[in-house]
């Protein structure tokens, strides 16, 4: 049970959100190799510590946003960028 900071609505309960796994870097261009594509798509960072992940405020404003979540303590921070 988490409490998540929606950039639009503020602090809300986890049940309003949908997790979409790790945040990825920008989508590759069409011309990179298959293996780079597959790596982008299927190899997530899985560290002990903060990971960036995507959440969708499904039962709220519909905003997709990125947070940093600590995989041990569940402490949550906003990423340094504008939180898009």
């Amino acid at each position: 049970m988490l409490s998540l900071p929606c950039p639009f609505c503020g602090q809300r309960d986890e049940t309003e959100f949908l997790n979409a796994g790790p945040a990825k870097p920008a989508r590759p261009n069409a011309d990179v190799t298959d293996s780079k594509w597959v790596e982008w798509l299927t190899v997530p960072v899985n560290t002990i510590g903060y990971v960036e992940e995507k959440w969708w405020h499904a039962k709220g404003c519909g905003k997709w946003f990125t947070i940093k979540r600590h995989t041990v303590t569940h402490e949550i921070k906003m990423p340094d960028e504008d939180g898009r």
Binding site: M1, S3, D13, A20, W37, K54, W56
Partner: protein, 988 residues
């Protein structure tokens, strides 16, 4: 027992209401108690010491504690469907008319035939399940398990549906205080007066904690009086919510706690509509654990007889409930606190026959004979204690008469909630107990006995200081008030866990685990605490070892030659006490288990006698039986044939509808769909195929271009939400620079498919004359915004899932019911036939259209025979990875149709395909059948599915095998387009 029924065990005083006489029944016997009693206190007052039988050996057991930690006095409350098994008599509040029954005994509590297990105990030691019932394996289900289930266990369920209702609620606060003893009340008062939003919760119905059970004064008042005054002040504060009968059951992330409030459990009948229990989710900024501590017993031979109790419980019954468990009592202790029991009981006029203290330097307060450096070695009394055997410091032994023995092995702080986030408690040698560790749930601190501070003064001050500190962290200034004076006795204890000797000494009374069992586990190398728990069952079941775990660890440490902290504890997990499943379910049960979505034509379809089927949350008409039809196939075949012959109508509102608008809407769709959408003209509809980024098909549907910058997309019913999420992700995260907005309009439009050769004629009767829907003006795949029935705005799409000349017509949802009635009226002259999900399914299989069975998360566009749709001239989601080597093999699975060689053979979905001469195994698998139906048009069963290299194998005969269904038939590989393969009908 002579004093049973007469209440002779009642003392003077106590916090009971003698004006409220309450009648109740225990095992059929009528008894009487008072307001403020628990079932356990009332039973003791009536001289009932025997309250249950143990789990494994069916030993007679009485009450051990006076609280939530109770392992023995586990009873079934109420009757019939309201029966609640495995309830602790110590926390069950007495009410007039309560009916309680003992458990796990046959034929009666006093004479239990299964007590023969006790004699057989040498064969029932730790791990006996694993050793005894290993072999032969086939005996397990039929012989061993029924025997064990009959012989061992707790209460039985009623087997009926729970007639109570439950609720869920959400609360927010600055400070949550868990426990309303001296520490909790001091914290709440401090925080409440500061103006902070405070919630203080206690599992008891009376705030005060141990203050209600002791004779300790707080300032000038008795402890219980002070507690009542503070509770009254808290109740008067608008910023404080004092919740009694509320157990905080778990500590979760980010200051979120779960709590169960027992709203009506203390009432004979719940007022109508009132939830029996409420599961609260409490969002706190800070929290303080003031949950007190639990006294632990000392193990000795036959220490489980009814009458042997925690010393603290013995005096709680005397002080709070004015009950002497017996007329003669003794005390067995390793610490100073045990002596309080002797003093309090002696002061109440109960005869204390001896105080047995394991310490050589035991104090003597003159309440009774003190045997220093002594221990209890055995006990007697078949269904209740009559005497104890004592070994004095000099080694001499003698029997001492007593009907109750208070045992104190020290107190364990209630660290549970501090460990719910995997925190570990730390050992405090001074009090010989675990206290909360440094790392616990964020924002949670502890005070009072829960933190290992056992004196009343320390609890009061600790609670106040904890509140000031916690509020300070969130910027609320609270003043630390001076607390009234109270006892501040230091803890004096010498750890003592069990008396060595021959007989069985019980550690865990609920699970019948003895010191010997722990030794055996150690001997058999189950030495880790987690293994010890599973092998011996120590600390399992309803009490979760609240009185037994630490002693079990101590015995293991002693045998293993380790310290207790080296042995460590098992993991503490929520819930803190047993919680009714109903509370977790709340109102989500039966027909309100989840929301139900009804189509706009639902009322009309019900009037027609439609049979409905759940499709996700939707209820959809499955077929419409007519008079004389006795079997579903008759209805479905009729609906299919009528549609293909003339015209049918079907509610397709459930398909997802997404409105896509913006200057870049076309560009956006061009990237979402793998086929081109940029050049779709206004007024046209196109079939679109959507891939996942890994190249697998995600969904399909049609998208209509209503304007330069407006599209309406449809999705499958099942994927409506998933597709919308996917598109929002793409819009917001992948291409935020595109000017495009999307919104789900699934519920905004009622949509009906009107299909069949006469569909245009029906529609022409309701479409307003201004709109020409002739084949020339409105050809296949046309779309447009029109009006119907004299000015009602509508959308018309000439698309077909059935393969017939067909339209889908949409009107604002509130007109859906009117539209279906109007369509039926207009279609009457053409025998218009409503059709349901089944007929829809038959027609799409006849046409070879892929649906959920084919878009199953493993198939590609190539598999579906749509490989050429994936545009190579643009980048769209999934187009790159759909080109991977493994997904573009020459012998890839291709969607084809199957027809049985013998028309009488049914094709079974899920069948796997094998070549005639190959062995039938996974290595020779040629593919599988995904969908099958009886086609009334072809008068044969048909199927579609995926076959290796299928495009080149038309005409081949192969085997379709389904070992699960036990079917094997010969099928011919055919085109998946069974009906009208050239698509002439839909263009007509």
């Amino acid at each position: 027992m002579s004093d049973a029924m007469t209440g002779l065990n009642r003392l003077d005083g106590g916090l009971i209401d003698r004006s409220a006489e309450l009648n109740f029944r225990f095992d059929g016997k009528s008894l009487e108690g008072y307001g403020g009693d628990t079932l356990a206190s009332a039973l003791l007052a009536n001289g009932v010491r025997l309250m249950g039988r143990s789990f494994k050996y069916h030993r007679p057991r009485g009450v051990l504690s006076a609280g939530a930690e109770e392992p023995n006095a586990i009873v079934a409350l109420r009757e019939g469907a309201f029966t609640e098994p495995n309830t602790r008599a110590t926390t069950a509040e007495l009410f007039d008319g309560l009916v309680a029954r003992s458990q796990n005994r046959w034929p009666s509590l006093a004479f239990d035939a299964m007590a023969v297990n006790d004699i057989m105990s040498d064969f029932l030691t730790a791990g006996f399940y694993y050793k005894t019932f290993m072999w032969p394996a086939k005996f397990w289900e039929k012989i061993y398990e029924p025997i064990i289930r009959h012989a061992a266990g707790l209460g039985a369920l009623s087997g009926m549906s729970d007639p109570d209702c439950y609720d869920k609620g959400f609360l927010h606060c600055d400070l949550l205080i868990i426990g309303a003893g001296p520490a909790g009340l001091a914290a709440a008062l401090t925080a409440g007066r500061s103006g902070a939003r405070v919630i203080i919760a206690d599992e008891d119905f009376l705030p005060g904690g141990r203050l209600n059970a002791e004779t300790i004064a707080v300032g000038d008042a008795a402890g219980a009086e002070w507690a009542a005054q503070v509770a009254a002040e808290l109740a008067s504060m608008p910023n404080v919510r004092l919740m009694t009968r509320t157990t905080v059951i778990g500590a979760f992330d980010h200051g979120i706690y779960g709590a169960v409030e027992r709203v009506t459990d203390h009432l004979a009948t719940a007022p109508d509509g009132t939830a029996r229990q409420v599961l609260w989710r409490i969002y706190s900024k800070r929290s303080i654990l003031c949950a007190g501590s639990i006294e632990r017993p000392i193990a000795f031979a036959n220490n489980d007889r009814p009458g042997i109790m925690q010393a603290g419980a013995l005096r709680a019954y005397a002080n709070r409930w004015a009950v002497a468990a017996a007329s003669e009592v003794a005390v067995f202790t390793n610490n100073d606190d045990g002596h309080r029991t002797a003093s309090d009981l002696a002061a109440k006029g109960v005869k204390v026959t001896a105080i047995i203290d394991t310490r050589a330097d035991a104090p003597d307060h003159g309440d009774a004979e003190v045997l220093a450096g002594a221990c209890v070695t055995d006990s007697r009394g078949r269904l209740g204690l009559s005497k104890i055997k004592v070994r004095s410091a000099d080694g001499s032994q003698r029997w001492i008469k007593c009907g109750a023995l208070g045992v104190s092995g020290g107190w364990n702080p209630n660290v549970h909630l501090t460990c719910h986030q995997r925190g570990r408690p730390v050992w405090n040698e001074a009090i010989a107990a675990f206290v909360p560790g440094a790392v616990g749930p964020v924002g949670l601190s502890s005070a009072g006995a829960a933190s290992g501070m056992f004196s009343t003064a320390a609890a009061l001050t600790g609670g106040a200081v904890a509140a000031v500190n916690a509020l300070g962290e969130i910027g609320i200034k609270a003043k630390a008030m001076a607390m009234p004076e109270a006892e501040d006795a230091p803890v004096s204890i010498t750890a003592f866990w069990h008396v060595t000797g021959k007989g069985r000494a019980w550690l865990d009374q609920q699970n019948d685990v003895t010191v010997k069992d722990v030794k055996l586990a150690h001997q058999e190398n189950f030495q880790s605490v987690e293994h010890l728990k599973r092998y011996t069952t120590l600390g399992m079941a309803t009490d979760q070892g609240k009185t037994s775990n630490i002693a079990g660890l101590a015995v293991m440490a002693e045998i293993a030659g380790k310290t207790i902290p080296e042995v460590g504890t098992t993991i503490y997990r929520p819930p803190y006490t047993p919680t009714a499943i109903g509370a977790f379910g709340g109102r989500s049960r039966d027909e309100t288990f989840r929301p139900v979505r009804l189509t706009p034509s639902h009322k009309w379809a019900s009037e027609q006698g439609a049979v409905f089927v759940e499709v996700g949350m939707w209820m959809r008409a499955q077929w419409f039986p007519q008079a004389g039809e006795t079997e579903w196939r008759q209805s479905v075949d009729r609906e299919v044939l009528a549609t293909r012959r003339s015209v049918g109508v079907c509610d397709v509102t459930t398909l997802g509808k997404i409105d896509v608008q913006g200057a870049d809407a076309a560009t956006f769709l061009n990237r979402i769909y793998c086929n081109g959408f940029a050049k779709l003209p206004v007024g046209k509809t196109r079939y679109g195929l959507m891939l996942r980024e890994d190249g697998i098909v995600m969904d399909d549907g049609t998208t209509a271009r209503l304007g330069e910058t407006q599209f309406v997309m449809t999705t499958t019913t099942a994927n409506a939400v998933g597709v919308f999420r996917h598109m929002e992700f793409a819009r917001q995260c992948l291409w935020p620079d595109l000017d495009v907005q999307i919104i789900s309009t699934t519920e905004a439009w009622a949509q009906f498919a009107v299909a069949g050769p006469n569909s245009r004629k029906v529609l022409e009767k309701i479409v307003d004359p201004a709109f020409d829907i002739s084949n020339d003006a409105f050809p296949f795949m046309a779309c447009g915004e029109i009006t119907v029935c004299g000015g009602l705005r509508a959308r018309l799409f000439r698309i077909s899932f059935s393969g017939e000349l067909a339209y889908e017509i949409a009107v604002p949802t509130r007109y859906g019911d009117a539209l279906i009635r109007r369509l039926m009226e207009a279609g009457e002259e053409f025998d218009i036939t409503p059709y349901g999900m089944e007929a829809l399914g038959v027609m799409r299989i006849e046409k070879g259209h892929a649906a959920g069975n084919e878009l199953n998360g493993t198939t590609t566009a190539l598999n579906l025979g749509l490989g050429r749709m994936v545009s190579k001239t643009k980048d769209s989601i999934g187009s790159i990875l759909s080109e991977r080597e493994g997904l573009t093999r020459d012998d890839a699975l291709i969607q084809v149709g199957f027809k049985p060689v013998d028309p009488n053979d049914p094709v079974v979905a899920g069948s796997h395909l094998m070549n005639i001469d190959d062995p039938a195994n996974a290595a020779h698998d040629q593919g599988y059948i995904t969908s099958a139906a009886y086609s009334p048009c072809l008068e044969s069963s048909i199927g579609i599915g995926f076959l290796e290299n299928g495009a080149t194998r038309k005409g081949e005969i192969i085997r379709a095998m389904n070992p699960v269904e036990g079917s094997e038939i010969m099928v011919e590989v055919v085109s998946a387009h069974f009906v009208d393969p050239e698509g002439e009908r839909l263009r007509a």
